[in-house]
Point group: D2
Chain length 383, copies 4
C-alpha cells in the first residue's frame, strides 16, 4: 500500500533552527506528513507553533509524553508512524526512550544523548524493539559523500594511510551565549549540551563522516581540547591526532572560534594509490586524485557514478543540491523503510543507508574519549 508516512515532532517550536530544517527535509519529497507535535515545553508556544505548521489543534500536544501516549491510542491508520526529536541534547533521551517503548520509530538529532548511559539504554532498546532509529548525521546524506565511500570501499585508492577531517566554524568567536542567542545558549551549557561543546556539536559530525567514508574505525586518539573564549563553560576548539584500525593516521579539527569560517566541514583521504577530497560547502564536487594523474572533478549527476550516489540525487547535474536535500535523503530513506516495514516488504538496500543508533553510540564514545584525552598527560587513549 502506498501512503504518506506520518511524523510527530518533539521540539522545533518558534525560533528553533534545526526543527525547521527537519521539517523541510521531511517535506521535500512529499513522502512524509507532519501529523502531530509537542513543539515546545511551553504548551502555549507549542499550540501557536502547531497552528503555524497547519497541525490540527487536537494533535498539538502539551508534552511529548502526552503525544506519545495519546497517539498510541489512535487508530493504526491515523496515528503517527515515527517521532522526530529536534530538541537540545538533554531532551533526546526522554522522548526517544518513550517512543521506542510505545512502538514508534524514531528520527533523532545528534548527538544521540546527553550522556553515555542514556546512549547505551537507547541502543539496547532499539535492539530489543527492532524499531527503526535514525540519527541525523546528515552530512553522510550527500551523494558525493556516498560516492567517496564507494570509491574507497571498491579499493580504488588502495589501503588508506591518512585522513584529514576538519570542521571549523566561527560563530562562537565571541561569548554570544551571553547575549540572547538561543542556539549558542544551550550548546555551551553543560546542563543541556553534555560534557562537550564543539566536540559534541560538530566534532561528532567530523568523526562520523571520517568513519563513514573510509569504513575505518578510530582506534586511538590524542586530543588537545580548549576553551578559547573567556567565560565559556564548554570546549570551543579542539584538534585530535587519530590512529585508525588499519594503521592509517589522521587529524581531526573541530572549532567554533575560527573567525570567518561558516560551516567548513572538509575531508581528505589518502591511500596507496590515490586520494580524494570532499568539502561540505561545495557539496556536489568530489575531487579524486589518482597518483600521477590529473585530478578528476566528480560532480553530482555527471557521468558514471555509484548507484548509491545516484539514488540520493534528485535533479540533473549543474542544479546544485544542498544541505536540505542531503538531510532529506535521511528522511526519504526512513520513510521508505517504515513503509516497507508496514507493508511487510524488504526495502531496496540502497535506501537502508542512514545513520543509526549505533552511529549515535559511536559518536558518544568519541565525545567521551576526546574530552578524556584532552585532560590526560599521556599521549594516546584507546577508543
Amino acid at each position: 500500500m502506498k501512503r504518506k508516512i506520518r511524523m510527530g515532532m518533539v521540539g522545533g517550536g518558534h525560533g528553533a533552527f534545526i526543527g525547521n530544517v527537519h521539517r523541510m527535509a521531511a517535506a521535500l519529497d512529499s513522502k512524509i506528513e507532519l501529523v502531530c507535535g509537542a513543539f515546545s515545553s511551553d504548551p502555549e508556544k507549542s499550540r501557536l507553533s502547531g497552528e503555524d505548521l497547519f497541525v490540527p489543534a487536537d494533535r498539538v500536544y502539551k508534552s511529548y509524553e502526552e503525544m506519545i501516549k495519546t497517539e498510541s491510542t489512535l487508530p493504526e491508520d491515523v496515528r503517527m508512524d515515527f517521532v522526530s526529536i529536534v530538541t537540545p541534547n538533554h531532551v533526546h533521551f526522554g522522548p526517544a526512550k518513550m517512543a521506542l517503548e510505545y512502538g514508534f520509530h524514531v528520527v533523532c538529532d545528534k548527538p544521540l544523548s546527553f550522556d553515555m548511559e542514556e546512549a547505551h539504554i537507547l541502543q539496547k532498546l532499539v535492539k530489543e524493539t527492532g524499531l527503526i532509529f535514525a540519527l541525523t548525521h546528515n552530512y553522510t546524506g550527500y551523494p558525493m559523500v556516498k560516492q567517496a565511500r564507494h570509491i574507497i570501499e571498491s579499493g580504488q585508492l588502495g589501503k588508506i594511510r591518512k585522513v584529514i577531517v576538519e570542521y571549523p566554524q566561527g560563530w562562537l568567536s565571541d561569548l554570544v551565549e551571553a547575549t540572547d542567542n538561543k542556539q549558542a545558549s544551550w550548546r555551551t551549557d553543560p546542563k543541556r549540551s553534555g560534557i562537550a561543546g564543539a566536540m559534541g556539536d560538530i566534532g561528532t559530525h567530523a568523526e562520523n563522516l571520517a568513519e563513514y567514508i573510509t569504513g575505518l574505525k578510530i582506534e586511538k586518539l590524542c586530543a588537545d581540547i580548549s576553551i578559547m573564549v573567556d567565560g565559556r563553560l564548554l570546549d570551543d576548539d579542539g584538534s585530535v591526532l587519530l590512529r585508525f584500525d588499519n594503521g592509517a593516521r589522521g587529524v581531526l579539527t573541530a572549532s567554533q572560534i575560527c573567525n570567518g569560517e561558516e560551516n567548513n566541514l572538509n575531508i581528505r583521504v589518502y591511500g596507496e594509490k590515490g586520494g580524494l577530497q570532499w568539502h561540505q560547502m561545495e557539496p556536489n564536487t568530489l575531487l579524486v586524485k589518482m597518483q600521477n594523474n590529473p585530478t578528476q572533478v566528480l560532480r553530482t549527476g555527471v557521468g558514471e557514478l555509484s548507484a548509491a550516489a545516484n539514488a540520493h540525487t534528485r535533479i540533473p547535474a549543474g542544479h546544485p543540491e544542498g544541505y536540505l536535500e542531503a538531510f532529506a535523503n535521511i528522511y526519504r530513506n526512513v520513510a521508505i523503510c517504515i513503509l516497507a516495514r508496514a507493508n511487510g516488504t524488504t526495502p531496496d538496500p540502497i535506501y537502508t543507508d542512514y545513520p543509526t543508533v549505533d552511529d549515535g553510540v559511536r559518536g558518544m564514545e568519541f565525545i567521551y574519549k576526546v574530552i578524556e584525552s584532552g585532560k590526560m598527560e599521556e599521549k594516546w587513549l584507546t577508543m
Copy 2:
C-alpha cells in the same frame, strides 16, 4: 486565516524532470499542498502518477480541461487555489488561459508560451482578471541574485557599463533527440518548443537574469545563432551582442553544445565604480569587486545583506542552499500572495517579488528578436 494553499498540477507525470522540481519546490516550505492534477495527456499515466503522488483518485483528472472545470465546481475551501503548469512549451497556453478564465491563479514554467500571440493573450488576460501569474524564471529566486540586484539598485557600482551573461550547457552535444531522451526530444522539436531551441530554453533565463539584476532593458541586439549538431531542427548555440537602454554594452551566450558544461549560468556586471559576479553553480557566493579594493566574497547568510536576500534564505551560512530552494522561493512567495489575497490583506512587498507574465512576454520578445537577428545581414535589431 492560516491555511495551506492548494495546488493543481498540469503535466509532471512519470519521467518528467521539471514536474518533480515544481513539486519539491512547492512542498519544501509546507505552505502548499498538491490537491489535484492532470499529470499526463494519457489518462492512465495520469492516474498512476496521481497515485504515486498521494493525490486522491477523484481529483486525478484525465485532462486539464476536466480538472479546471471540475475544480471550479468544488466548494471554495476545497478547490485548488492555483494551477501549476509544467508541460512542454506548446501546452502552456491552453491550461494557462483556461485557468485564468475560471478564476484560478497560475504558476507556469518558462518560456511563457509557444508563440508571441499566445503570450500577448495571456498578458491581457492576467491584466483583466487581476489574478496572480508567476513564471518560473527560478534563477532570480536565489538570495545572492536578489543581493546583486540590490547592490546595483542602490548605486554601489555606479552607472552600469558592461554585462556579460552566459549559459553554457553540454547535454545536447550529440543528437540525443534521436535517442529516447524525453527532455531533448520536445526541446528540439519546433512543434513543441516554438521557434527557438537553446535560446528559448536557456537564453531567456540569461536575458531575464541580466535584466533582473541590472534593472536595465536590452534595447538592441545582434545575434549569431546556429545549429551545431547535424540533423537538429532548432538552434543549439548562440551569442548575442547587447546594447542596454542606459548605454551599457553586453554579451549573452547560450549554448547546449558546450561539452562538459553542466548548467553554467554566470553573470558579470561592471559599473563605473565596481563590478560583481554571480555563478549559478556556486549560488551562495556573490563576488563584489570595488575599484582598487580587494574583491569581497558575499555569502548567503553572512554579515549584513539586503532584506530581500535574507527573506529568501532559509538556513544559516555555510549550509548550502541550492536550486530547489531558489525555485521554492517563487512558490513560497506565490503562496503568501495568494493567501493574502484570500484573506483580503496586503502581503509584505518583500514576498511579491517573483517573475510575472510581463517577464514572460519580455522573454518571448527576446526569443523572437534573437532568432530574427540571427537571420539578418544588418548588425543591429531594436528590441
Copy 3:
C-alpha cells in the same frame, strides 16, 4: 659553441613596466646577457638606466640608430645578437626595420607596429633577410597553453565548435590618462598607440591565443566597439562575434573598464567530444572536460603531458610558474634558435615555437578589421 646570447634593448628606461618584464624574462635562464641599450629617447635617462642595469657606459647609446650602427661595427663575438624592442607601438617599426637591415635578430613587443603598412614592410623584411623575429605574445609561452594546443591538435576534442575568449581588465575604468600614468597615457593616445586602444593592447592577445590554441583562423567577425570613459580617445571596451574557418563560432571580449578585474585572460574551447578551459590568472591549471566524464584538472608538471608543455616547464609540480616564466620561454627559445643559427645547427623543433612576425601581421589585421567592423552597419566583415 656554447655561449650566452647578447641582447641590446630599445626602450625600457626608468618607469617602464614592460621593459623590466623583458629584462627579467631574458635573464631568468642565464642564456642571454644584456650588453647594450638605447633605453630612452632622452639620452640622460638612457645613461642612468644603463648604469642601473650594469651596462658598460660605452654601450649605452643615445638612440637606437646609434646603437644599431655602432654595434654593427663591433667584432662579431662582442656585438649584440639581437635587439629587444620594448617601446610604445609607434616606436616599434623604426628600430625593428633598422635592426633587420643591419642583420640583427629582433624580439619585439606587441602589437607589431603602429599601422598596417609598417607591419607589411616588416614581414617582407623578415622574409628577405631570414632573420629571427619574435613577437612577445607571451601568453602562448605558458606550458598549459601549449598543452591545450596539443590536445586540440591531436583531435581529442573532435571538431571545434565554439570558442569563448575574453580579456577583461579594470585599470582604465577612470580617465587615468589624465593623471600622471605613463602606461595609460600612451596606450590611449592615437598618436602612439595606433587606431585601437583595448583592442590593440589586449584584444590582439585574445585573438592570438584563440588562434594559437585552436589552430583555427577567424574568418569573419562582427564587433561592437566602444569608448566607455568620457574624454578617452580610443576604444576601451569591445565584444566581437567570431566565425572560424572550420565553421566554429565564437565570442571575443576585451575590455579595460571591467572594474575589479586584473588581467583576466580566459579561454574556453568546445568540440564535438569535449571542451577545455584555461585561465591566465591560474596558469598552471588546464581543465579538460570530456563528454559525460569528470572534468580533469591538468596541472603543469603532473602526469603525462605533451613534450611541448614539459619543455616549457622549469620546476616540479606545485611550485607555481607565472607570467615571467611564460615570457621567459619566448626569450629562451629565441636564444636557443639564435645560438643554433650561429653554430650552423638546427634547433630542436620544440624550441622554435614562439610568435613570429606573421602572428604580428595577423594581429594588426585583427585590429583593423575589428575597428572597421565596429563602425559598420552590416553584421559580418571578412577577415
Copy 4:
C-alpha cells in the same frame, strides 16, 4: 658604487633540482652574477656543469674547499661576494663554515644542517663574523605572506587563537628511492638527510611559515610521526599538535604520502577578530575573513597593501608571480644587503627581511623536538 654581486655556488650540477632554482632566483633581477662554482663532488661533472653555466673554466673548482681558498686569494673586485650552498643536508655545514671563516657571506638551502651541533656552530660563527647568512625558507618571500604577517602584526585579527598549517605532498607515496630518483634518494637517507625525512624537508617550511606569519613561537608540541611506505628509513608523514607562546593552539601536518597532492603548503590563522588563509599553490591570493563580514580576497598588486608586500612584488596585478619570484626575493634582498655592506651604507629595512641562521637553528630545533615527541608516550614536549 653600483655593481652586480658575485656568487659562487656549491652543488647544483646536472640533474639537481634546487641548484637550478637557486640560479634562476639569483639571475632574475640581474643583481647577481654567477662567477664561480664547485658544482659537484665529481670534478668532471663540476667542469661540465660550469661549461653549461658559462662559468669561466678557471673558476670551476673541483671542491668547495678549493673554491673558497682560491677565491679568497683573488682581488677584492673579482672574487665572489657570497657562497650559495645547494647541496643535500649533510653537505651544508662544511662549505658554510669554511665560507664564513674565509669571510664570505652565505646563502644556504634549508634545513640549516645535518644535525643540531652543526647548527649551533654555524649560528655562533655568523654571530662572531657578522657576515650575512640567509637560509632559503623561500615561502616567506611571497608578497602575500609578507602581507599576512603585516596584518597580524598590526593587530587586525586581534589575539591569535588558532593556527592550522599543512604541507601535503604525494611524490613519495611509493618507494621511489628504490628507483633512480636522485631527489628522493638523499632525502630518505639518514646519512644524507639527518634524523628526519618529511619533517626536515617540508615540516620545517611549515613551522617557519607559521612562526613568520604569526610572530608567535611554538612552545609545546605533540607529534605523531610515521613511516607509511614499507622499506623507507625516515618519516614520510606526520601531524603535530602545537601550543604557541601566547596560548594559541595549532596543528601542523607535513606529509609526502598524500597521493595526488603537489606542493600544497597552506596556512590558516584565526584571531579574536578575524582570520586569514594563504595557499602556496595560488600564492597571489590572501583571504582575510573579518568576523561577520564578507571574506576579502587580497591580491598581489591590488589596492592598498603593506610596504613589505609591495616591495616584494615585481609586476602589476593579474600577472601571476610564482615560486621563483618569491625565491628571488631572498636573493634580491641578500644582494642589496651585501652591496650596502660593501658600500658602507645601511640598506632599507624593507630589504633586510630574509630568513637567517637563527631561523635555521629554530628549524633544527623543530626537527629534533618533533622526532623526539613522535617517540614519546607523554603528550607534550616543550620546545
